[in-house]
Symmetry: C2
Subunit: 103 residues, 2 copies
DNA sequence: GTTTAATGTCAATTTTATCAAACATTATAA
DNA sequence: TTATAATGTTTGATAAAATTGACATTAAAC
């Protein structure tokens, strides 16, 4: 990703925590980094960045790591799924659109 | 990410669905792509790839888009959080480790 | 039906992620 | 305590992502 000096502290913390959760999931399975990397077809360096919470790793690498850990890739579907705020806002507008409304 | 011709069909579908969920969240808020891009500090092209489910977009871009949509970035914390399988496996082993066990 | 803003899509260029290959450090098992 | 496998960390080369800018398409408002 582009270098972003203004990336929010909150987002940074979120990524760090997510990376740590992935590391814990790996340890629960007693899988060395080398094995996960092999299965995910990524380098050990990239997995290291994921577990550290670097914002510059591709979502594809994440997805393959989650899959390599065994069935965890469906967790990605939890993103933007519930969206309580969004549904509330939509209820106010009532109509479903395929595009944001003009001007 | 590295070009991976063997990326699983399942993972591809997961990414496509996640991208669509993000698009729907944007539409519920009636936000044009241009506005989200501006707030997330990414190009319209990159948002387009996210909504299409391309595996090659950085997690940082995802995080900033979710934040731009308003409070959705915490959804990232749902990844590898519950991990029922992992906890079961750990219960069998009983000990908490900081590294995978040797050989 | 017309208008037009939102979105889809492409190519060229710049910027950045990813890799390989080291070497250093440290937790774990014996 | 010691041996060693797992992990931490750096660097330089290269593959790939992200951007810019352009143009095409299309849904929505009138």
């Amino acid at each position: 990703m582009k270098h972003v000096p203004t990336m929010s502290i909150v987002t940074e913390r979120v990524l760090k925590q997510m990376g740590n959760q992935i590391k814990l999931a790996r340890l629960r399975r007693n899988m060395p980094t080398s094995l996960v990397c092999e299965r995910a077809d990524i380098s050990r360096m990239t997995l290291w960045q994921i577990e550290k919470g670097s914002p510059s790793v591709s979502i594809g690498s994440y997805a393959m790591v989650l899959q390599a850990l065994g069935g965890l890739e469906d967790d990605l579907l939890l993103i933007a799924k519930d969206d309580v705020l969004g549904r509330t806002l939509q209820d106010l507008g009532l109509k479903r659109k395929q595009r944001a409304r003009k001007v």
